[in-house]
Amino acid sequence: MSIPDKMTDEMSLTEIVHALAASPNFAHDGLCFAARSSGLYRSEDGGFTWQPAHNPSGDGKPLPTSAVVFSPNFAVDGTVFAGVPGAVLRSEDGGKTWHTAALASPPPFVSVLAISPNYAEDGCVFAGTVEDGVFRSGDRGIHWAAWNFGLLDLNVLSLAVSPDYARDQTLFVGTDSGIFRSTTGGRAWREVDAGPEGTRSTDFAPVLSLAISPQYAADGTLFAGSEALGLYRSNDRGRTWQRLGGDALSGPINGIVLDPQYPARPRILVLLHTALVVSEDNGATWNEWYPDLQDDQTLTCVAAPLGLENGSPLLVSTTGGEVLIVRERFFKG
């Protein structure tokens, strides 16, 4: 593990990295962003050094940034989106300059951004918010409209888009009271049919993280990380759920990363408050790994820009605003 330069001279535990995003072309450009409460930061060297990425006009004070996402077609379109209070920022030059698209008043707090895998064709971007549900843009982030029909809980904490979105128009949101699914490209939502192990859907704890299998069209697999009930997997597009990991995965699940070759190589990485937990057998067994953290410091986000290869970098953020670069050999296989 190596600890990079701190992004600010004075580390404060109130400073939080809300989101990390790495370029789809990370192996070549080393570009990544960190959305922090003190603003949006950009790194061009794989996360070793960071510079403020957005300096709004006016008083020049950076806006708290809560979400960031790259276009899947970044190598061609250079597009990045970031969420700030009441608006979504859009850059088409890799984060050098930004355009602001305001969301409807009163200003929503953008909690998560997601982008269509078919963005080059459909231009769809989704913004989950804390009190206003999901905003959807169908014109590459220029105009946004709230589409919350059937979304009975507007506190959106996580969002995942199907890799086969062009065909199935499917996305999931994790909210304070469970999971909702849209099969209409985010224009209408339905409660998932059941909660964990046959309980009612409302028995879900807040769902902090979601991850969809890269082969979702074939395997229908989806993972949900909850605040208090651990990690769940559904193999039938969210209809039924099974708990994974038992006591090894107690506590809030802040992030889930699946191997890009999942399910052929069933590696799963889960970010807990103070540990990274990995499985290489599709959740049957788990190994924990604890980074060196200062007192009261917890882990908030994780990004695996080069997948879950042994020794490839993981970007892990902490309360206090640090981004750690972790290069461990987690897997035996």
Binding site: D132, A146, G150, L152, T175, D176, S177, T184, R187, R190
Partner: protein, 565 residues
């Protein structure tokens, strides 16, 4: 005789052929008379069955418009035929008319299929009974056969989703591809319970609008509370919601809630009250500092006590507030901050008020909706079901309005009616799935009925199953004949292909109907089978008719379609 449409109706009397005495009609005149009436009514509806319907012209529908009304909808045709001059025939026709109209109200479609199925069962039943069969026993076995049909239909049900599939269902009802496409999109978004308003448009085109959040049909109590920027609408952000059905007679009653919101630095208040006096409105309008506190008052939604109680309950759950109820003796005197509901946005105009992003407990809201859904499933009362569906639709947090255009007002009105029927059918399809269309689902029940007939030892039982096995072919025969093809020839071709095959009238060839995407809402087909067979079986038990010498001249009930879906 055709009455004026949508006018207060009285039965138009025919000259009576008897005086003073009641006339009692016995068999075989009873069956003959009823058959005449049933045949006349079914004859008027039969041409409308199938995707290539023929049109029925009904003249003098409206006093003000002498041009005939052209209809291809069996339910409306049946509704507009209110009396036949032959009183024996009239009994049969009115019996069937009642069945068809109730079916139309219930599921929105299937009246023509029900009419031909009813006729087939009744005619064959009459033949059997006049040859010595027992009507009551036949009724029992027909109902036994119906259970088999419903069981077979249940096994064929598939569930559809997605805009294209829903549009195909809509098209089987409205035969209007652009309209069906838009209805497919709308119901793909709003779902079974979604709130959809279908209104006449002003132009030729079809348009739709989606409205975020939920709204109720109660506007601001005074224009002075609305922004005068031309829209006469006020939008409140981070608004508190006072929920009540209290009667506010004096301005003093409003002091406690107003003092509370000012004390807590709340800038917007939507006040829902049962009644509010002019002096109280004047007091609210005298607010000199709207930048510090904006107040909009609306009346409690609902037309009766039950609906008002529902609205208060829904508002309370949505916004996390407490409802102040007059009947419980509540007052605003000891109001606390936690009694108020809250929403990200609230709005009101002259006709409606709405809430977007209510801050109630989401889990509680989901459980509340589940409870109302359970009540919806439990009740059979169509009015209660409509009200509960509207309520669920509101709580789901969005609505759609479809504006139906056309070349003339008449075309627009007819298109609106078709759209409403298609919408009802789509709700049914979303709730209970779909079945192979084009009469194939009923045709597929035939082998099971034939098998039951083969093993039946009782003659009445055997006859009942044979009657049904024959009758279930009537709808597909009619569809094929209406398209101008020979039904027997096509049925032979279909039989040769095997189960699941039917005749695609549009493409004019035998196809596997499910693979060709030809579906009917399952609830429609099942309701058709149930309504037609049970009522035909019941009609067969009618042995004697009694005609009153002086039929009462009572106004008919208003059967105009409900205002809102």
């Amino acid at each position: 005789m055709i009455p004026p449409f949508r006018k207060p109706r009285v039965r138009v009397m025919q000259p009576t052929v008897y005086t003073g005495m009641e006339r009692v009609v016995f068999q075989p005149a009873t069956y003959r008379g009823m058959q005449r009436g049933i045949n006349q009514l079914v004859g008027a509806i039969r041409p409308t069955l199938g995707p290539r319907p023929r049109v029925v012209a009904i003249d003098h529908v409206d006093y003000h418009d002498k041009t005939p009304r052209l209809l291809d909808d069996g339910g409306t045709i049946a509704r507009l035929i209110i009396e036949l001059p032959d009183r024996d025939a009239d009994v049969g026709a009115m019996f069937l008319r009642d069945v068809l109209w109730r079916l139309q109200q219930q599921v929105g479609d299937g009246t023509a299929t029900a009419a031909v199925l009813f006729q087939a069962v009744f005619q064959r039943g009459v033949h059997y009974i006049t040859a010595g069969g027992n009507a009551r026993r036949l009724q029992t076995f027909l109902e036994e056969g119906l259970r088999t049909i419903l069981g077979q239909l249940n096994e064929m049900v598939v569930h559809l989703s997605g805009r294209e599939e829903l549009a195909r269902i809509a098209e089987t009802v409205c035969y209007d591809p652009p309209l069906a496409d838009l209805l497919g999109e709308i119901f793909d978004i709003v779902g079974e319970f979604g709130r959809v308003e279908i209104r006449p448009g002003r132009g030729r085109e079809l348009e739709r609008e989606y409205v975020e959040g939920m709204y109720w049909e109660r506007g601001a109590v005074s224009r002075g509370m609305l922004d005068g920027d031309g829209q006469l609408r006020t939008d409140l952000e981070e608004s508190a919601i006072l929920i009540s059905d209290l009667e506010v007679k004096h301005p003093q009653q409003l002091y406690p809630p107003l003092a509370l919101v000012i004390r807590h630095n709340i800038r917007s208040l939507l006040m829902v009250v049962g009644e509010i006096s002019d002096s109280a409105i004047g007091f609210l309008l005298s607010n000199k500092h709207p930048e510090k506190l904006r107040v909009v008052a609306v009346k409690t939604p609902g037309h009766d006590k039950e609906q008002k109680a529902w609205a208060l309950e829904d508002l309370a759950v949505l916004t996390g507030g407490r409802a102040f109820v007059q009947a419980a003796g509540d007052t605003f005197e000891r109001i606390r901050r936690e009694d108020l509901g809250f929403a990200r946005r609230a709005w009101a105009d002259r006709y409606n008020f709405g809430i977007i992003g209510g801050k109630g407990n989401a889990r509680q809201l989901r459980q509340h909706i589940a409870t109302i859904r359970a009540a919806f499933e439990r009740t059979d009362n169509p009015n209660t079901r409509n009200l509960l569906r509207e309520r669920i639709g509101k709580l789901l947090g969005g609505s759609a309005t479809l504006w139906v255009g056309g070349m003339t007002q008449r075309e627009i009105n007819e298109r609106v009616e078709r759209a409403k029927r298609a919408a009802t059918a789509l709700r049914g399809a979303l709730r209970e799935g779909v079945l192979p269309g084009g009469g194939v689902a009923l045709l597929n029940c035939r082998p099971a009925l034939e098998a039951m007939a083969r093993v039946a030892t009782d003659p009445d039982e055997r006859a009942a199953y044979r009657i049904l096995a024959d009758a279930v072919t009537a709808p597909i025969r009619t569809i094929i004949a209406n398209a101008g093809f020979d039904a027997s020839e096509m049925l032979a071709a279909i039989k040769q292909q095997g189960p699941g095959y039917g005749f695609d009238v549009v493409r004019e060839r035998v196809v596997h109907v499910a693979e060709a995407g030809i579906y009917d809402p399952a609830i429609v087909t099942k309701s058709v089978a149930y309504a037609a067979i049970t009522s035909a079986a019941q009609a067969l038990t009618i042995d004697v008719m009694v005609h009153h010498a002086q039929p009462e001249q009572a106004p008919l009930p208003d059967l105009s379609p409900p205002k809102q879906l």
